[in-house]
Amino acid sequence: MRFRASIENVPTFFKIIQSIEKLQKKCIIKFTETNMHIICNSDANEGGIQVWSQIKVESLFVGYRIQSNAANEITMAITSEALLGALKSASSSATSAYETEEVIMKLAKKNGQAVLTFEINGLTRVGRKVRVSHDVKIEVMRPADVARLSEPLCPEPDLHILLPPLQKLRTIVDRLRPMSDILAIRANNNGCLRLSINTESVKVDTEWKDCTNPKTQNIPEDPEDAPDPDQLFTVLVSLRSFLKFLNSHVVSTTTIACICQNHCMILYVYIGDVADAGGVLTFYIPAIIDDEF
C-alpha cells in the first residue's frame, strides 16, 4: 500500500476540512486514483446529517501516487481535528513564522501505527529552511468494511434551487436558533425560497424571490404534465443540522438545494466554479416529520 502526494492547494483543502470538522469528530477519507472522497455518515450525528463528497485529485494535489491491493483505493478513518491542525500549520498566513514551499502528504507506519504524515517545507523571513512534520493517526479500513459504506438512497428530488450566498443564510438562521429547533424550507420552481419557523411564541418567515432554478435533465414529455411552477415543496429539518451545513460557507461558491418532500434535503456545495468544479460536497439532511407544523 503506497500513497504519496504533494498538496498544492492548501487553503481549499483546509476550508473543506474546516467545514467537515464542525460536523463530526472522525471522518472517513477514501482516496482513489482520480478522486478524494470525504464521508461523514455517523449515526451519532445530531439530526442524522451526512456528507458524501467527491473532490478531483488534480484540484488539490500534484505528484499524486496511489497503490493498493483494493483496486488502488485506500480508505481511512481520521480525526478531523488533527487533520485540520496539520493543514493549519501547512497554510501560510500573515501570522505564521514561515512561508510554506511544499507540503507532502504520505502514508507511513510508525511504531506499528498507520499514520498520515504531513511534511511541510518552509522558508523563514530571513531565508532559513524549516521542516515541520505532523503525523496524524489513521485507521486503514478493510475493503469489506468499505464495501458496506453506502450513500443514502433518495427519491428523485421534487425541486432544485440555487441558494443565496450561504454567509447571508447563516446570519438569518443563526438568529432563528434560539427560537426554534425545527426549520421549514419551502421552495418552488419559480425562484421562490422561504425559510420559516413556527412556534408558540413566534412565526418567522424569510422569503427570497429571485433565486434560480437550475435546469434538470428530465424534462417531462408532455407539457401538460409539467407541475405548477408556483407549487411550494416543503421539507422540515433540524435547525442545528442546517446550521452545521451552513458552516460550509467558507468553501462554497455555488450551492444547489434539492427538496425531496417529506424525505430529505440534499445540498450540493460546489468547490470552485460549477462549470469547472474541482469537487462537490453533498450534504444529506433527513426530514423531520411533524404533522403539527
Binding site: 447563516r170 443563526d174 432563528l176 434560539p178 412565526k203 418567522v204
Partner: protein, 363 residues
C-alpha cells in the same frame, strides 16, 4: 362619525415604520434584561416596561418621531364627556406583552440592526464597548466593526452599508405583533408574527419630586465607567450623598485639606463577599452638572439590579440620578437620536428609565 362596520376594515391599532431599525433596536436592548415586556401604545409613542423581582422597573420611552410613520387607532370607546378629555389622554392606551428577546432577534435577522453603543453615541464621547457586546455582529465581522466608526455618516444618512427597514403592525388584542423586515428591494423579506399576551399589572413605583432628597445630572460616561469597574461578585451598591458645603467654606477647607474630605458629595460604595470598594465624585461642575441634595443620604441597592442599567448606559449621553426620602432610585438615561436635529425639527430624544427600591437592611 361614520364607524366602519366590519372588523376587517378597521385600520390596525398600531402601524409604524422606520427605514433603519438600529435606534429602535438599541432602545429595546436597553431594557432587555427580562424576557417578558409590556408594550404600551399611545398617541405619543411606545413605552416598553420590564420588571424584575418586584423591585426593579425598566422603561424605555420611544416617542412617535423615532419612526418614519406612526399611526395609533384607539380600541377604547371614545370618551363622551368633554371634561374628562384630559384624563382620557392619559388613560387612552393599548397594552400587550411580548417576548422582548424574540422581538430583538427578529429585528436583527439580517445582522444589520447593529450593536447598541457605537451607533448612537456621537463621536464626542468615548466609545466604550465590551468584547461581549459585539457578539451579535461576529458573523459579519467587518460590517459590524465598521458600523462603530461611522460617526458622521449616520448624520447624512449616507454610506453604502445595508440597513434593516421595518414595518410594524398590531391589529389589536388577540392578534400577533407583525413585523415586515427587509434590507433592500432586491434582498429577502422577512415576516415575523410575534404572539402577544394580555398585559399583567406592573409594580407601581411613582417618583414624587416633592420627596426628592438627591438629584444629580451627569454625563453618562462618568457613571458608566464607575459601574463597569465593579466586579459582578459585589452584591450591594450604596449611594451616599451629602449636601455641598457652603461655597466659602469649601474653598477655604479645600485649600487646607484638599484630600481629606470626610463628607463626600457623592460616593458609590460597593460591597461583596471578597471585599469592598469606594468611588468618590469630585465637586466639580464638569463632572456633576447638577447636584441638589437636601440632607445626608445613604441608600443601598442590589448590585445585580443596578448593573442591569449598564447596557442602556452604554448608549446614552446624559444621566439623571434621583433618590427620594424612602430610597426609591430613579435613573434616567438620555438616548441620543441619530436623526439630524435641524431637519426633523421637533425630534425628541428617547430615554430609558430604571426605578429601583432600596434594600431594607440599612437606613
Amino acid at each position: 362619525m361614520s364607524q366602519p362596520i366590519e372588523d376587517e376594515e378597521l385600520p390596525p391599532v398600531l402601524k409604524a415604520s422606520v427605514h433603519d431599525v438600529r435606534y429602535f433596536a438599541a432602545l429595546l436592548r436597553g431594557v432587555n434584561f427580562i424576557n417578558r415586556a409590556t408594550i404600551t401604545v399611545t398617541e405619543r409613542g411606545l413605552t416598553i416596561t420590564v420588571e424584575e423581582a418586584r423591585t426593579l422597573l425598566g422603561t424605555a420611552f420611544i416617542f412617535s418621531d423615532v419612526f418614519d410613520e406612526y399611526c395609533y387607532r384607539s380600541e377604547n370607546p371614545p370618551v363622551v364627556a368633554s371634561q374628562d378629555s384630559q384624563d382620557s389622554e392619559i388613560v387612552d392606551n393599548t397594552a400587550f406583552e411580548v417576548p422582548l428577546n424574540t422581538l430583538i432577534e427578529c429585528l436583527n435577522i439580517f445582522g444589520t440592526a447593529g450593536s447598541t453603543s457605537a451607533n448612537v453615541t456621537t463621536s464626542k464621547f468615548k466609545k466604550w464597548k465590551k468584547a461581549g457586546d459585539d457578539s451579535d455582529n461576529d458573523d459579519d465581522g467587518g460590517r459590524g466593526r465598521s458600523a462603530g466608526g461611522r460617526g458622521i455618516d449616520s448624520y447624512f444618512g449616507g454610506g453604502s452599508e445595508k440597513r434593516t427597514g421595518m414595518r410594524l403592525t398590531y391589529a389589536g388584542a388577540g392578534y400577533p405583533l407583525t413585523l415586515l423586515l427587509a434590507e433592500d428591494a432586491t434582498g429577502p423579506t422577512t415576516t415575523c408574527e410575534i404572539t402577544t399576551f394580555d398585559p399583567e399589572p406592573h409594580l407601581e413605583l411613582d417618583f414624587d419630586n416633592s420627596k426628592m432628597v438627591l438629584k444629580i445630572i451627569l454625563k453618562s460616561s462618568w457613571l458608566r465607567d464607575a459601574l463597569s469597574e465593579l466586579d459582578p461578585s459585589f452584591d450591594k451598591l450604596t449611594f451616599i450623598g451629602n449636601p455641598p458645603p457652603d461655597a466659602e467654606a469649601t474653598t477655604s477647607r479645600q485649600k487646607q485639606r484638599p484630600r481629606d474630605n470626610e463628607k463626600p458629595m457623592l460616593r458609590i460604595q460597593a460591597a461583596g463577599t471578597f471585599g469592598s470598594t469606594e468611588m468618590d465624585y469630585p465637586n466639580d461642575r464638569d463632572v456633576l452638572e447638577t447636584f441638589e441634595c437636601t440632607r445626608s443620604v445613604r441608600f443601598s441597592y442590589r448590585f445585580a439590579h443596578i448593573s442591569r442599567a449598564l447596557r442602556a448606559l452604554q448608549s446614552s449621553t446624559k444621566t439623571s440620578l434621583r433618590i427620594d426620602e424612602e430610597g426609591l432610585l430613579s435613573l434616567q438615561f438620555l438616548m441620543p437620536s441619530p436623526k439630524p436635529k435641524g431637519a426633523g425639527g421637533t425630534s425628541t430624544d428617547a430615554f430609558i428609565e430604571f426605578r429601583c427600591l432600596a434594600l431594607d437592611d440599612e437606613f
